[in-house]
């Protein structure tokens, strides 16, 4: 089904929270997902697999000419990579990243140009100016199975209704024929 970019980003944000991903990383993942939806909707398929808890904090090792980010989960590593590149460090070394597309997408969404090179399981990112502005949003097709998997995670953030919550809801809950 076609979904708006806002729907996709919003669902990914909620799914991240439902999976237990730290909030700030959820916000960045939603940004990346919006970019993926605009440019390569098929890549959205990886998102449910990328949201596998537990989520471990990466370790960052600044060396003279390269920054090594130790961590395998793209959803945890991608925001750190953006931080490192934004801070002026031009080369980042990663290894065994589960879904590098998320890192590429977040960099592009933040308009950080990067070149990448794989060598076995090692991935090296080099800053290359600014990325092109992302294309204008248009709806993207996301597989129903992927949407359902994200929705299942998002549901971990929903609170079941009770009689008390219904009574204390947004409105009076009455018919209104004034």
């Amino acid at each position: 089904m076609k979904r708006s970019i806002n729907e996709i980003s919003g669902m990914v944000l909620k799914a991240g929270r439902g999976a237990g991903l730290p909030l700030g990383h959820c916000e960045d993942l939603a940004l990346a997902a919006g970019y993926m939806a605009k440019t390569d909707p098929l890549s959205l398929d990886i998102l449910p697999r990328a949201l596998k808890a537990p989520f471990a904090a990466p370790r960052v090792d600044f060396q003279a000419d390269i920054t090594i980010v130790n961590g395998e989960q793209a959803v945890m590593v991608a925001p750190i990579v953006v931080d490192v590149l934004r801070a002026g460090h031009s080369v980042v070394s990663l290894a065994d990243i589960d879904h590098p597309q998320i890192i590429f997408a977040l960099c592009a969404a933040c308009q950080i140009g990067v070149m990448h090179e794989f060598s076995g399981t090692k991935l090296t990112l080099s800053r290359s100016g600014e990325a092109a502005a992302p294309p204008s949003p248009s709806p993207a097709t996301i597989a129903q199975s992927v949407w359902d998997a994200l929705d299942a995670l998002a549901q971990n953030t929903y609170v079941p209704a009770t009689e008390a919550s219904r009574l204390a809801g947004a409105g009076a809950g009455l018919t209104d024929n004034d």
């Binding site: 989520f55 490192v84 949003p137 248009s138 409105g171």
Partner: protein, 549 residues
């Protein structure tokens, strides 16, 4: 700000004062509110509204299409009217059927597109839409007034003026969806378009067109025209609940843009050295209009009624203070605003809105700054000492709160599984706090402050080690640059009233006649007194309209 030719201005009111919930909840519409800006822009282009389709049966059930060309683009409101049993009519967003449903369509819809919308729009959230659909909305009749108006017209009479005045609208919208909801267009589709690029402009255009449709429908079923002054006084109602409340928290830079513009506008008018006789006369005229407006603003809610009563008591005293000596003195508006802290917060904020009104030439250009293309970013080069300093400067109030105290964590925000709508629960009596929505911004920042206390080095290394604080770091850094980006109150305390957040946002839409039904939902009136479709040549003098009844 885009407005490059900067007029003189006084210092802005401090965010620590402006961004408190109680004051935000006392906001009034003003000339930079979105509906006002839209009307001016429509008038500047001499926009014509054309009703291209009217397929209604005698009872007023069917559909209509209104076409406008604005900013070089065509837009159409497709309106669908259905026969709704009274027991299905509810204000709440969770309803499943409505008297009328609407889509603002991007372009000129052909018959197949009209057919698609007529089939889908009445189902609202239960249908899917496409990127040509810009806004989705629905409205219920104010049965009491709609039926009365129709019957009066059918009897060859005009409706009872008191009833028109006390209700103020023929229909009330219960949702106006934009930005990608249910498959409609993302805001990005229109954000660079002339006219519709400002915040909520597409939604406001929709609301204004709906209002005109409600007039047409009543006149069609009634078989006679309404008197123009009556018709002009019939705005469009709206019911707004908790669903709107998190918006201001989730869009900090947009909140900053709105508030910063309003405060900049105030700072500009405060810097006016002297008023001309015409400007003084204009202020006196508006002061009188405000008094009449307050007199016509009647609500059943006891707390709101008491606040309005206070306004009504204070306003004549304030008006009497506007002596010729004061008005002819140096920097008179600055003096008036400075002196306003003797009044209630409601009166203070009404004075602010009043003082903006006569000075369009000085402030209207600021409306271009109310949308922002930016989103919050982390500055990874900042060191932790600087981050701590920002917390100390901007968030000390948040760090001073003891969140384990029952009253300071009494409430929690959540999304209901049943309706997927935001809710506010009692932490001490209801389940679900373990998966609350992250609107506890102040508590998050205090937690960040603790984690930072013994950390040296850059934000990068801190965030790598403490990813749980990433969102809070982003907010602290954003507020350091955008001082009106945060509500400076604890949103989970027992003192947090969502109605304050709703009123702040609605005032920027241009809403008036706030009519709270609890501390978490309110009715309002939009576009009351606004120009009719064929009155755009006189589009800008309807702030706090008064029925001449």
């Amino acid at each position: 700000m885009k407005d490059m030719d900067q007029p003189a201005q006084m210092p802005l009111r401090a965010p620590e004062t402006v961004m408190r919930l109680r004051r935000m909840g006392a906001a009034f519409p003003h000339r930079l509110s979105f509906l006002r800006t839209l009307m001016r822009n429509l008038a500047a282009e001499n926009v014509k509204v054309e009703r291209t389709v009217w397929e209604m049966d005698a009872g007023g059930f069917g559909h209509a299409v209104y076409q406008v060309r604005f900013g070089g683009f065509d837009y159409a409101l497709v309106a669908v009217s259905t026969d709704l049993p009274p027991d299905m009519r509810t204000d709440r967003v969770i309803a499943t059927a409505w008297d009328t449903a609407y889509v603002l369509y991007d372009g000129v819809p052909d018959q197949s597109e009209i057919d698609r919308i007529v089939a889908s729009a009445p189902h609202q959230e239960a249908s899917r839409y496409c990127e040509r659909d810009l806004v989705l909305s629905r409205a219920n009749k104010s049965v009491r007034l709609f039926d009365h108006v129709v019957k009066s017209l059918q009897a060859g009479q005009q409706p009872d003026r008191d009833l028109v005045q006390s209700t103020g609208y023929l229909m009330r919208t219960t949702a106006v969806y934009g930005n990608g909801k249910f498959g409609i267009a993302d805001r990005g589709r229109i954000q660079d378009r002339p006219g519709l690029g400002g915040p909520f402009m597409a939604e406001m255009l929709t609301v204004w067109l709906i209002r005109g449709f409600t007039h047409d429908l009543a006149e069609f079923v009634g078989g006679a025209p309404l008197d123009l002054d009556l018709k002009r006084h019939l705005g469009i109602g709206n019911s707004t609940g908790l669903g709107m409340a998190p918006f201001l928290v989730n869009h900090p830079m947009l909140l900053d843009a709105w508030m910063h513009v309003r405060e900049t506008a105030l700072a500009r008018v405060r810097a006016i050295d002297a008023l001309s006789p015409d400007q003084i006369e204009r202020i006196y005229t508006l002061v009188t209009r405000v008094a009449d407006h307050i007199a016509q603003w009647k609500v059943p809610d006891e707390i709101a009624a008491e606040r309005i009563a206070t306004l009504a008591r204070e306003w004549p005293v304030f008006a009497a203070s506007l002596t010729p000596e004061l008005m002819l003195g140096s920097k008179p508006i600055h003096a008036i605003v400075n002196a306003s802290d003797q009044w209630s917060v409601d009166t203070q904020e009404l004075i602010v809105a009043l003082m903006l009104e006569p000075f369009g030439e000085l402030i209207d250009g600021l409306a271009d700054c109310m949308a922002t293309p930016f989103s919050p970013k982390i500055d990874p080069t900042m060191d932790c000492a600087a981050l701590r300093q920002h917390i100390q400067t901007d968030w000390q109030w948040a760090c001073d709160i003891e969140y384990s105290a029952p009253d300071q964590c009494a409430q929690f925000w959540y999304v209901s599984e049943e309706k997927l709508e935001p809710r506010l629960g009692n932490r001490h009596e209801e389940d679900g706090a373990d998966i609350e929505s992250p609107l506890d911004i102040a508590r998050q920042v205090k937690s960040l402050s603790h984690a930072l206390s013994d950390w040296n080095g850059s934000v990068i290394t801190f965030l790598a080690a403490h990813p749980e604080h990433r969102s809070a770091v982003r907010r602290v850094q954003t507020l350091a640059q955008y001082p009106y980006a945060e509500i400076r109150d604890n949103l989970i305390s027992d003192q947090c009233l969502p109605i304050d957040m709703l009123r702040c946002k609605l005032s920027f839409f241009g809403a008036a006649k706030f009519d709270p039904k609890s501390d978490r939902w309110t009715r309002i009136t939009l576009a009351q007194g606004a120009p009719l479709f064929d009155e755009l040549d006189n589009a800008d003098d309807w702030w706090l309209p008064v029925s001449g009844l």
